[in-house]
């Protein structure tokens, strides 16, 4: 089931960049589908106005993913983020206490760089269209005449890459970019200066390593000689788990409740002052102290929670028969503007079909139909 998934088309990063605020990295799968109105968002309502943000993970920001119970789909997103970085030519920094980063990089999905996928996608999209949109709407008759979001590939501009999960990324492609790794159990013991930080030593070492890479490689603009500025994609796996030396996932109250939040604050500072974007997966279903999760959410820019149906009663629920899990958007970044939260819906579900990884809003649409028209408009 997982082997046949492919992710959606995404724009590549332009090589020449201006300011930190102008750069955007287009992130595939869930985020592209969430925020880019052109890509695979099937809904009975007009969602063109919904997807206002326009794409991806902005440089200088942090995307936090709350892992699903078995970590399958969050791992998938993690790998897609890194794979897209390789294909776009960005530098990578991979940190983990679970798997060695070398092994993570060997497991990345292979990109499809020819045009054969387009025809396959077209066939798939046609099937999807004919199944669901032929029947006239009985309950939602008001929405019959609204423009539908087309899922045909011809409306897209030519950007981005498909990935095939059944194949691994060729090693020569992996070697084509510069990448740095941090595997906690191979790092040397911490320096005495970090003792004064009052932080878990694993996190402190990671921050030291990250800061060293950022300043040495010139991602913070400290080297005026470097004309060709590149972006650093940072991926940190399972932060907060016991393997990092933090007991926030196994005891309540934890021994040091502030380590994780301090780490996120310092990381935020590093991201804001450099050309980097970061993805972190956190096993939040294991964190018993909910106060810590609230603080973690406040300190992150974008927070997305994944809930897979594996092993739950929703797996057999007919309402969810087409889906593999739910996507909960807990927070959307507020960058350089007054407007905070403009997404129209936060109830999304994902599924891995034969060739499409789609995000859909039909669950929300069902609930929306229960409100009277006046209630919908008044927002009361």
């Amino acid at each position: 089931m997982l082997n046949q998934g492919r992710c959606t088309y995404v724009p590549a990063l332009p090589r020449r960049s201006s300011t930190i605020d102008d750069l955007k990295i287009q992130l595939e799968t869930i985020l592209a589908a969430l925020f880019d109105k052109q890509i695979h968002c099937k809904s009975r309502r007009d969602t063109a106005s919904v997807m206002a943000a326009g794409g991806g993970v902005a440089v200088g920001t942090l995307l936090l993913i709350e892992e699903d119970k078995y970590g399958l789909y969050s791992n998938l997103l993690f790998k897609y983020f890194l794979a897209e970085g390789i294909v776009c030519g960005h530098d990578l920094f991979v940190a983990s206490a679970k798997e060695h980063p070398d092994n993570i990089l060997k497991e990345l999905p292979a990109p499809l760089l020819d045009d054969t996928y387009r025809k396959e996608l077209g066939d798939e999209a046609e099937v999807v269209n004919s199944e669901d949109f032929q029947d006239s709407m009985k309950i939602a008759w008001r929405y019959q005449n609204l423009p539908k979001i087309e899922a045909s590939p011809t409306t897209y501009t030519k950007f981005g890459h498909y990935y095939d999960l059944s194949k691994k990324m060729p090693p020569e492609l992996c070697q084509s970019v510069k990448w740095h790794s941090f595997y906690l159990h191979e790092e040397s013991s911490f320096e005495p200066k970090m003792k004064a930080w009052n932080m878990n030593s694993g996190y402190a070492r990671l921050l030291q390593s990250l800061q060293r890479i950022i300043s040495q490689e010139g991602f913070d603009g400290s080297d005026p000689q470097k004309k060709q500025r590149n972006v650093l994609r940072i991926g940190i796996q399972s932060l907060g788990s016991v393997l990092w030396g933090d007991d926030v996932c196994c005891s309540d109250p934890p021994e040091d409740p502030h380590s994780l939040t301090k780490f996120l604050y310092v990381l935020r500072g590093l991201l804001r002052k450099s050309l980097s974007a970061c993805i972190i997966t956190v096993p939040s279903h294991l964190i018993q102290n909910k106060a810590i999760m609230e603080r973690v959410t406040n300190l992150s820019d974008m927070v997305v929670g994944l809930e897979s149906f594996i092993g739950s009663e929703r797996e057999t629920n007919p309402l969810y028969k087409d889906y593999h899990g739910l996507v909960h958007v807990h927070q959307i970044p507020r960058l350089n503007s007054l407007i905070c939260d403009v997404s129209d819906t936060k109830d999304l579900a994902f599924r891995l079909k034969r060739k499409l990884f789609t995000i859909e809003t039909s669950l929300f649409a069902d609930a929306w139909l229960l409100l009277s028209p006046n209630q919908r408009i008044l927002g009361l």
Binding site: L207, H258, K262, Y265, L270, A291, N336, L338, L378
Partner: protein, 305 residues
């Protein structure tokens, strides 16, 4: 109320008065639905009707948000006080300088120029934290404001000293009253400061800024009814009791709506100054636009009318 209830209150006016007192609403406040009295108000300029209440001296304003982001209020107060010619000390803990600068430009204020002229003292928490942890040894005369991050004591004394020094009036420039702006206080708890230390810091700031210098303080906090963060709720509840004005931005209870981004409750704590007075509560709904925020009475958004 009609029928039996109406008769009951007619015969028992004391019960009617008690009911109003319980609701803590003065009878003159319109409950919404009167279209002529509720033209949408804007935030730009000093005529921002719902938000213009906090112009007095020595006032402590608490900005609170629940289920939504209240930082638009911070941007409003920052540009409001800078345009009014006040000296502002801005403790920005969560975002970078460029973020505030870009938004302030949309609201018509140049933060970089204000900083250069000395009108704005900007503490960028993120940068200060990096300097503290990764920088070289600090000079003994200039302790970092975020000293409490590396050290065993969770006291915010260094931060208070920074605020006091930056708002002390200097002989050369004459700005109107000093203002302290904090965005946001809940971050201090995440960084390891104890709730009592945070409350002490605010108390010292009030004595110094509100009482001695006759300036204003505006502080943003996050809160939620079903929050499990007890330390945060403790700080927020305590600050609510000591505030002169509370601006409480809440997301709509029914979920997100495109035309109404949320509801703001304006609570003027008249009972703080005079024992017999009741707090005045006004409720508006708002919609945030690119350069502006519009306020309107409940149920009267432009989408409906």
């Amino acid at each position: 109320m009609g029928g039996k209830g109406h008769q009951f209150y007619q015969q028992n006016p004391r019960c009617l008065r008690a009911a109003f007192r319980a609701l803590r609403l003065p009878r003159a406040v319109p409950r919404g639905g009167n279209a002529t009295a509720t033209a949408p108000a804007q935030t730009k300029g000093a005529e921002a009707a719902p938000l213009a209440g906090g112009c007095g001296q020595g006032k402590f304003t608490l900005l609170r948000d629940t289920r939504t982001d209240g930082s638009f209020l911070v941007h409003h107060f920052l540009s409001f006080y800078l345009r009014a010619g006040c000296k502002v000390c801005f403790v920005a803990l969560l975002q970078s300088f460029s973020h505030y600068s870009i938004v302030a430009q949309k609201l018509g204020v140049n933060l970089a120029a204000a900083k250069e002229q000395g009108q704005l003292v900007f503490l960028e928490g993120l940068k200060s934290c990096l300097d503290l942890l990764f920088g070289e040894e600090e000079q003994p005369g200039q302790p970092s404001p975020l000293q409490f991050l590396s050290g065993s004591s969770g006291e915010l004394r260094a931060l208070f000293d920074f605020v006091r020094v930056s708002l002390t009036p200097c002989a050369q420039a004459s700005w109107k009253g000093p203002v302290l702006l904090v965005d946001d206080l809940s971050v201090l708890l995440s960084l390891g400061a104890a709730p009592v230390a945070v409350l002490d810091f605010i108390h010292y700031c009030r004595v110094s800024v509100c009482c001695q210098l006759q300036g204003n303080i505006v502080v943003l906090v996050h809160s939620s009814e079903d929050s499990e963060d007890e330390e945060n709720e403790l700080v927020v509840n305590s600050l609510c009791h000591h505030s002169d004005l509370i601006l409480w931005a809440e997301g709509l209870a029914t979920g997100f709506c495109k035309d109404v981004h949320g509801q703001i409750k304006i609570i003027k704590r008249l009972s703080l100054r005079q024992a017999a007075e009741q707090d005045q509560v006004q409720i508006y709904q708002y919609k945030i636009q690119d350069r502006n925020v519009t306020f309107f009475a409940r149920g009267l958004s432009a989408a409906v009318l």
